[in-house]
């Protein structure tokens, strides 16, 4: 299923898919969480998976909002069920490249000891996601996450 207005339709490979655009502001998070919940209900995905998926998306979305300098376009979030995995893709257009997969792992205990707090979001995504990949094509940043679903 796919759609650019959030409605679900069958995708070419048979997997359920939905995509929606969100304004690059933290206030968009409520709508993002609702989008995740709607997709889960429509596709019979166990609600207990929502927490992790919402954290992953929030961390990636807020990083794009905070660190894509000069960016003005809405951010696209696509959800696609791939068997026992959920594929989450965030697409940010007309931006400079920012490959978060190349950022070194954070030693959280060391950071706390040094009274530093940042860098935790990406750390959580790495702990919770089964796969993370990044592409930069035609000034578009595409971050794709695979998350195994619990049934």
């Amino acid at each position: 299923m796919d759609s650019r207005n959030g409605e679900l339709h069958p995708a070419a490979d048979g997997g359920a898919e939905a995509e929606r655009l969100f304004a690059r502001h933290f206030d968009a998070l409520e709508g993002i969480f609702e989008f995740v919940s709607e997709f889960f209900v429509a596709n019979g995905i166990e609600a207990s998976n929502a927490f992790d998926v919402q954290v992953i998306i929030e961390e990636l979305f807020t990083n794009l909002v905070k660190y894509s300098k000069g960016a003005t376009h809405d951010i696209a979030i696509r959800l696609k069920r791939r068997g026992e995995h959920l594929e989450i893709r965030l697409v940010d257009v007309d931006v400079e490249a920012f490959d978060m997969t190349r950022i070194p792992e954070v030693d959280t205990a060391k950071r706390i000891a040094e009274k530093k707090i940042g860098g935790l979001g990406l750390h959580l995504v790495r702990k919770m996601a089964d796969d993370i990949s990044y592409e930069y094509v035609d000034r578009q940043s595409r971050i794709t996450i695979l998350k195994r679903l619990q049934s």
Binding site: F26, E59, T62, I112, I117, L120
Partner: protein, 96 residues
């Protein structure tokens, strides 16, 4: 969506509820700035937390510890506890 709230339970314990995401973090930090002494914080009503929310708790704890005080977090929802665990922060908050 349940807004983040902190309430004094009346028995010396603060009760936290709702969701603590990036859109709530600024407000939550203002509320947490009112904590000036050691206190137990019951997180049983906290349904969701992200790194932004963790940051609010960490800032508060570091501030209190510098003054000889501390938060002790109790009654965490399993997924919330997992976030603190992934962040390596269980020891900082005395989470058992």
């Amino acid at each position: 969506m349940a807004m983040f709230e902190i309430k004094n339970r009346g028995d010396g314990v603060l009760a936290v509820s709702g969701r603590l995401d990036a859109s709530q973090a600024e407000m939550a930090e203002k509320r947490m700035n009112a904590i000036q002494e050691s206190v137990r914080v019951d997180l049983g009503g906290l349904d969701y937390i992200s790194s932004a929310g963790i940051g609010v708790f960490v800032k508060t704890q570091l501030r209190l510890q510098a003054a000889g005080h501390a938060l002790k977090l109790v009654n965490l929802h399993p997924r919330v506890r997992a976030i603190f665990h992934f962040a390596g922060l269980e020891q900082l908050f005395g989470i058992e």
